[in-house]
């Protein structure tokens, strides 16, 4: 590991050391082609692409699950799917969208963008990074493998005990769910530690924390949240595992267990998890708004402090998911107040985003449309969130479609729109080609309209008293007080909205494949970007930066470009246009070494990069077998454990090149 811990520098080609303790030879460098190269890659950009592609596939899986749910609910007493199938669908829709879509898609951007933004050549632990991905992939596949054994998990994404104990869920479905989640937890923790260390230690010279791009800041805070939140669910799942396998009674009430223990442990994880899902998107939007407004982020320190404040307060609000379980008025009042408090830093962010737009010169590229859509839709989700913070109101709204509407405004209107904005913004950096703007706009408007039909109308349905997670309803349960629409009317429109979202996703998929073949070549910097990733070629070379950059201000690449322009324009230009030098308060900072880089190219073949490795994949497979043994027989567990130990040994003893 020693070589990968050292910040990469320009060095002479590393001499090949004689390695007497070789366990297995490392794959040939640079293994940049072919299938094997993807299995062994430890390049943060390629791991980012793997994460992104996997998350995109699961987005379609979770989307199909959602459409099936909507088909079933379109009319009362429908028989499109059975009760049992419906319960599997909503369980896996939630689990998939949270753990297999939004989280890994965010991690894809952490991987691809963060090292570029902080001027690093890779993450701190490249092999651990690959291990994170493989553990994630196997966890996701393992959980879904349940379908072929005893049906998909059906305990809800929140897996409330005692429903998920062996007594009430005797099949292996819940086992697949909990073991898969454990594996995903390992992947998330490893990834979070990696990004924490990377951001703390590997920023390029001059990049103090308060000069760091906001997306990287959000990655840092998200990493802290992951590290502090995941142990809680890990413990909860281990206790559940003991209840299910070894007859303990942590949650089984008749023998003295407490079902509320699960709820506390789950939500101590579960609420910070919400911020794990939204902070990366907030970071993306904080990058996108300034670039397309031609103005720096308004109140950078406030936005950073607000992000950190959200991270802290996010650990003190978990019981607002439990207002109906009977915690008593004191606890409920405390958690109502703490939940309302979190609206303050969130409001600060929204106002600072508005401040960023104010006085700018706004180009409405697709990325910008998604970012502005995020601000607008997330605000709605935030407002309904404040309503739920009010305990008495929550007594009516909890577990109704009003809550479903609320959190989709946060997780779809927030996270998903933010991630789409991020995809349109960084796609040219990742692939070297632009996505089509016309299709992009169609994608955006269809999604915005479909989204608001689907989830906007759910507010009405919830207030009309329709609970969540019911596979069917009767025609006489609804109320036709608003617009003459009863449950049938709302549900039918909601289903239509859901299919509109599906159409917009189809447009996006077409756009992606079209762009990969025919997209306009992007060049280094298609959007006049502010941060370092736009200063290097698209897609970036394996080593990212030919010369390690030095920065002296926030928005380092803007500062540098404007200095170049100032030199070109000269002093005799009185009136400066967009192409010229900015007026006002920007202090020009020279980025000497970057400028040097443009004048005197270095010999890039001399840049030492860590070599690919098979061991992360092998180790992740061993861990997966260990856990899979709980379903397929403990022999597999033992074999997996041995395999894992061998893999760790090989990993440790592997030669550096």
């Amino acid at each position: 590991m020693a070589t990968t811990l050292t910040p990469p520098q320009v060095t002479a080609p590393a001499p090949t050391p004689a390695a007497p303790q070789v366990v297995a030879p490392r794959p040939v460098t640079p293994a940049y082609h072919g299938f094997t190269s993807w299995l062994t890659t430890i390049d943060h950009k390629r791991i980012g692409i793997l994460y992104g592609t996997t998350a995109a596939v699961f987005f379609l899986v979770g989307g199909v699950e959602a459409l099936m749910i909507r088909m079933q609910l379109a009319v009362p007493n429908n028989g499109f799917v059975s009760a049992d199938a419906f319960n599997q669908l909503f369980t896996m829709h939630g689990t998939t969208m949270i753990f297999l879509v939004i989280m890994p898609m965010s991690v894809a951007f952490f991987n691809f963008i963060v090292p570029l933004q902080i001027g690093a050549r890779d993450v701190a632990f490249p092999r651990l990074n690959a291990f994170s991905y493989w553990a994630f992939l196997f966890g996701a596949l393992f959980m879904n493998m349940s379908y072929f054994v005893s049906g998909l998990p059906d305990g809800g994404w929140f897996g409330y005990a005692p429903l998920t104990t062996r007594t009430y869920s005797p099949t292996e479905r819940i086992d697949f769910w909990l073991l898969g989640l454990q594996l995903l937890g390992v992947a998330s923790l490893a990834g979070a530690f990696n990004f924490l260390v990377t951001i703390i230690n590997m920023r390029c010279p001059g990049m103090s924390l308060m000069r760091m791009p906001v997306f990287s800041w959000n990655t840092l805070v998200t990493s802290f949240l992951l590290i502090l939140a995941f142990p809680a669910i890990t413990v909860a799942l281990i206790l559940l595992m003991f209840d299910r396998y070894f007859g303990t009674n942590f949650y089984y009430a008749p023998n003295g267990g407490d079902p509320l223990l699960w709820q506390h442990l789950f939500w101590i994880f579960g609420h910070p998890e919400v911020y794990i899902l939204i902070l990366p998107a907030m970071g993306m939007v904080s990058e996108i708004l300034p670039v397309y407004s031609h103005k720096p982020l308004f109140g950078y320190p406030f936005v950073v402090y607000a992000t950190v404040a959200i991270g802290f307060i996010g650990f003190g609000v978990w019981s607002h998911h439990m207002f109906t379980v009977g915690l008593g008025p004191i606890a409920n009042s405390f958690f109502a107040a703490s939940t309302m408090l979190i609206a303050v830093p969130t409001g600060v962010k929204i106002f600072n985003w508005l401040g960023t737009l104010w006085g700018g010169s706004i180009r409405f590229n697709t990325a910008m449309l998604f970012a502005v859509g995020f601000v607008s839709m997330f605000t709605i989700g935030g407002l309904s969130g404040v309503m739920h913070a009010s305990v008495p109101i929550d007594l009516q709204h909890q577990d109704s479609y009003f809550v479903v509407a609320h959190f989709h405004y946060v997780l779809f209107g927030g996270s998903i729109l933010g991630l789409f904005g991020g995809i349109y913004h960084w796609w040219p950096k990742i692939t070297g080609r632009l996505l089509d703007e016309k299709l992009g706009r169609l994608n955006f408007w269809l999604m915005l309209i479909g989204f608001n039909i689907t989830f906007g109308l759910m507010h009405f349905l919830g207030v009309d008293g329709m609970p969540r997670r019911i596979y069917t309803y009767s025609p006489n349960q609804g109320w036709s007080g608003w617009f003459g629409l009863d449950w049938l009317g709302w549900n039918m429109l909601i289903t239509i909205g859901a299919f509109l979202i599906a159409v917009s996703v189809a447009v996006f998929i077409y756009n992606v494949f079209w762009s990969l073949r025919h997209g306009e070549i992007a060049g280094n910097d298609p959007w006049d970007g502010a941060t370092l990733e736009w200063s290097i070629p698209s897609p970036p070379p394996a080593y990212n930066f030919a010369v390690e950059p030095t920065v002296r201000s926030r928005d380092a690449f803007w500062a540098l470009k404007r200095r170049w322009q100032a030199v070109e324009v000269g002093e005799h230009h009185g009136h400066l246009t967009m192409a010229g030098m900015p007026t006002g308060e920007v202090e020009f900072e020279e980025a000497h070494s970057s400028e040097e880089a443009h004048r005197a190219p270095v010999d890039v073949s001399s840049i030492h990069m860590p070599n690919p490795s098979f061991f992360p994949l092998i180790a992740a497979l061993g861990l997966t077998c260990m856990l899979a043994g709980f379903v397929f027989g403990f022999g597999l567990s033992i074999a997996g454990a041995i395999y894992l130990i061998v893999a760790i040994g090989g990993w440790a003893l592997e030669p550096t090149s």
């Binding site: 319960n87 106002f351 008495p392 019911i470 109320w479 009136h575 246009t577």
Partner: protein, 329 residues
């Protein structure tokens, strides 16, 4: 007897009116407790509307006013404005005070002891039906909770198996029903009528069909109902008597109780006065002979996953049972 029939037909009329009217909405409270929630909701709703209009208005105005136009000069590179930012940190906090204070007042109002002399009803959640016990009246019933108008009732709730949630929106917000915990809830129904509700916490395969309803009677009607429920009902016709035979011969008695008979099972709903209920199978079907026949022929077909097995009764047995059960009024 005539009085009872009258009350029954009144209930039937109310049931039909209820169905056509406002079954499960949260915004038409019919109790003091639900009204407290509704008042708070209306207040916070309008506060949210003000914030919504302000934020979206600024957003849309900024997008239009500051859109890029050709030849646009590079905008001033403003980095922030501390005074403004401190202001908009404080502003939401102030708004939240106006939401927080009435919230906490209402929390304590709802969780304070019920006003006056409450009548207690024990609520027990089962997969997938509701049991109601009236310790003061000595009555046990299922899925249909009869309450007196103008009388505060306090529900003492627990679960036999997994977590459920008791929710009749027009009477009160929901309260989880948790094994080993006894949660309570009170409200005073303001007018007579039938109020629909259902389990609001995912509790397994038939969660969607774990429904219930409450019927509020005026005090005298309520007392009459309770008196009828206390007295064992007896079959009158020959076919009904045959049905009673069928019931005792079969596994029914292992799970169900019918007061005054050998059927004393505690697993399923108490059927002592089954004929007086408006719904069947935890509120999912109207309690008609046709629906009961369908249910008894194959419960799993009506409610897949229900704990009641298919007893493979002969059609003639089903017919007798239907007659018997409907005679238990």
């Amino acid at each position: 007897m005539r009085y009872a029939l009258l009350a029954l037909s009144a209930a039937a009329v109310l049931a039909i009116a209820g169905c056509a009217n406002v079954p499960q909405t949260t915004v038409m409270p019919k109790s003091d407790a639900a009204r407290l929630i509704q008042n708070l909701y209306v207040w916070i709703f309008w506060m949210s509307v003000v914030v919504f209009v302000a934020v979206q208005g600024v957003l849309v105005y900024a997008m239009w006013r500051f859109r890029h136009r050709p030849g646009h000069a590079m905008p001033p590179q403003v980095h922030g404005n501390t005074r403004l930012e401190v202001m908009w940190t404080i502003a939401p906090a102030v708004v939240l005070v106006f939401i927080g204070i009435p919230t906490i007042q209402t929390i304590f109002a709802l969780e304070s002891p019920p006003p006056g002399q409450p009548m207690t009803i024990e609520v027990i959640g089962h997969q997938w039906w509701w049991e109601f016990r009236y310790p003061e009246q000595g009555v046990v019933t299922a899925n249909e909770m009869i309450i007196p108008v103008g009388q505060t009732v306090e529900l003492k709730m627990r679960s036999e198996d997994v977590i459920h949630s008791f929710w009749i929106p027009q009477l009160m917000g929901k309260q989880d029903v948790v094994p080993t915990h006894v949660n309570s809830l009170w409200f005073t129904a303001e007018e007579g009528g039938q109020y629909f509700g259902q389990c609001a916490e995912y509790c397994g395969v038939e969660h969607a069909l774990m429904r219930m309803n409450a019927i509020a009677y005026d005090r005298p009607d309520f007392e009459a109902w309770a008196a009828r429920q206390r007295a064992p009902a007896a079959p009158t016709t020959d076919l009904a008597l045959e049905g009673a035979e069928v019931l005792t011969r079969n596994a029914c008695v292992g799970c169900h109780t019918i007061a005054g008979t050998v059927a004393q099972g505690q697993v399923g709903p108490n059927l002592s006065h089954f004929g007086s209920r408006t719904t069947l199978a935890a509120g999912i079907l109207e309690n008609t002979p046709e629906n009961l026949t369908r249910w008894l022929r194959d419960p799993q077909e009506v409610k897949p996953g229900t704990k009641m097995p298919n007893l493979n009764l002969r059609p003639s047995e089903v017919e007798a049972l239907v007659e018997y059960l409907h005679s238990l009024k």
